[in-house]
Symmetry: C2
Subunit: 378 residues, 2 copies
């Protein structure tokens, strides 16, 4: 296994591309979807089933782990990989997004952010240097710069001010990373700029000047709508270097993923497959299903005969019973089936790009999902 | 596989015995512990892990299943085994115990009981005939007669009145079972009588006169204390026929099981391993542990190095983190480890009986558990 972080594009189909990220902990074929293991566990899944689902890389949340059990503690216990029984690559975010969305924010200035922990109310400081230190303590393979995730909606002035805060942080992260990281670890920059194409472009160019191992598109899927999101993706990927992976943060539905792959995105993470799995929803090759629906009460067909996931072979009638009864096994089976569906979706996308038929593949999936607007019932 | 239900004692050590129950769906070495799959799922466990834990037979609750999803529905879906992905033997209780403990009881008379469902408030009737019909619809391999589980404490007169209700029900269950059951299915009687040895004896003799495939000891572990419970077990097993399995219902801790095996019990069920697993408690060969305890925060030793359960190989520090964070994986791993511990306990008990060293084995376990009084923290 190479001791260096590398990315190679192997085939293109229009703007879509398939390739591989190489890390000391394993190779990640792209486009890749990262299941989210917020608190050092992909919720309601055994680590070996996450692996069996086809996932090559997972995401863990710096914010959650620095608060509980603590980054220094995880380091003392041998690092995050050992702690959570995952020996493949792990990407960690910087904590910035959750500070804004979960914590009681106390202060934000050019130095960094100070906030109150949502776990125990303690006052915690996060600076660019500390964000990198925490990610290095965890032993993360792909680390993210600390940025301010611009709120939505934001005026052009607000978005610009946000960038002016984040860009110096990105530089400081790179400096800190150079002194703290180990060989083979990577650091990604994050393009912000809200829904303003010129700000996105300027941010991308500024980050490229600093120079990162990969580039993320952040601050999207926060309420701007799919059209605006895809416009921003397209604007940004048009500028980003061809030889670096591009990661669209926190997105999304199968349709979002395919539309973004068509616009040159290589990596994704989203809580949707696991969160939906805990809320009775299944992603299948026949579309999206809500297993609470009474129509499944005596449906003896498997959840997804087209999937090779063991969990997708369970009968809909049984899954219906489990979710109606609030049984843990319902969430366990649906989480597993959903995570594997996302992996199968990525595997088929990679094949389709390599074969030059990505557009027709994406159309086919879009058709399968068009008639299935079943919503979460909570 | 034999099409008949049979029981053979293979070795004795004092009053303890080891043998095997043969059913058309598989052989169950005894003493046996049945994990509880109340609502057609052993809570928070995949069916294949229940099997892998060493369980040869599981229990399902008639009361819960008749209310949701309904016995007729399960029959239409191909029976309980297919429904819940369990192809080994299943024992079902009669529903009587839960009617008393969970439902809003409406009426109880010699005909049967009428109650309000705790699921949807519907009025439901349960008679001896209906209890057998429901168990046959489920396809249960070992069925239980409907009885009134005598409340504790009960005066001698109350306990006697309760027996006078239950004995005619037992007879009617046998008649109904003869007309509705399939070859190889078995029906067990249930000895009640509260804490009164003469009532237990009389009940046992009356049931033996009716004649059942096995005999359960019911109405214990309801607050009478371990001493009184073991006295009743001893009184009852002294009378029960040698050539029929004896099942102590709803018991208990590892110490309870071993003390009851010493008094001639062959079968057990209890929610303790799974319920404890959902409440941060582990049963291990080193005793009972409460994983919430801060002492485990940086404990890198496996949960139970002496167990062969995959879940027991996880570090205590990680389990501590999971249960403190309320992560589903904590309950999943502890449930699996606990169910397997109970199976390993039974396997070692069988070996010890066969080798004529059961008393020293039981003493050893008792010693291991003596210092571990960690209680559930809720």
């Amino acid at each position: 296994m190479s001791e260096r972080f590398a990315f190679t594009v192997k085939a293109r189909d229009g703007t879509a591309r398939t390739g591989a990220i190489t890390t000391p902990r394993g190779i990640v074929p792209t486009p890749a979807f990262m299941p989210v293991g917020t608190g050092a566990t992909v919720k309601a899944m055994f680590p070996e089933d996450v692996k069996a689902s086809g996932a090559d890389v997972i995401l863990a949340n710096t914010y959650h782990l620095m608060l509980r059990p603590g980054a220094e503690r995880i380091a003392r216990l041998g690092g995050l990989h050992k702690f959570m029984h995952w020996d493949g690559p792990i990407l960690t975010d910087s904590g910035g997004y959750q500070v804004m969305s979960l914590a009681k924010l106390r202060r934000i200035d050019e130095e960094g952010v100070t906030f109150q922990s949502h776990v125990d109310g303690a006052t915690v400081a996060l600076s660019p240097e500390r964000a990198i230190e925490v990610q290095c303590l965890l032993g993360s393979d792909i680390q993210m710069v600390l940025d301010e995730c611009t709120a939505h909606p934001a005026t052009r002035e607000e978005a610009k001010a946000s960038l002016e805060l984040s860009l110096p942080w990105a530089k400081r992260c790179k400096v800190a990373f150079a002194s703290m990281s180990k060989p083979g670890q990577a650091l990604f920059g994050i393009v912000q700029g809200s829904v303003y194409p010129d700000l996105r472009e300027a941010c991308a160019r500024d980050l490229m000047e600093i120079g990162f191992d990969g580039y993320a598109v952040g601050g999207l899927a926060v309420g701007e709508g799919q059209g605006a999101m895809l416009d921003m993706v397209e604007t940004t990927t048009a500028i980003l270097p061809e030889d670096r992976p591009r990661y669209l943060m926190g997105v999304g539905t199968p349709q979002d993923l395919l539309a973004s792959i068509a616009r040159g995105i290589d990596m994704f993470d989203c809580v949707l497959p696991t969160r939906s799995g805990r809320h009775c929803q299944a992603f299948t090759w026949q579309g999206r299903l809500n297993l609470r629906n009474a129509r499944y009460a005596e449906d003896q067909t498997p959840l997804d005969p087209e999937s090779s996931c063991p969990a997708a072979q369970y009968e809909k009638a049984y899954l219906h019973h489990l979710v109606r009864s609030g049984e843990a096994l319902g969430a366990m089976l649906l989480s597993y089936a959903n995570v594997q569906f996302y992996q199968e979706l990525m595997a088929r996308a990679r094949e389709a790009i390599a074969a030059g038929r990505f557009a027709s593949f994406a159309d086919d999936v879009k058709r399968r999902y068009a008639g299935s607007g079943e919503e979460v019932e909570e």
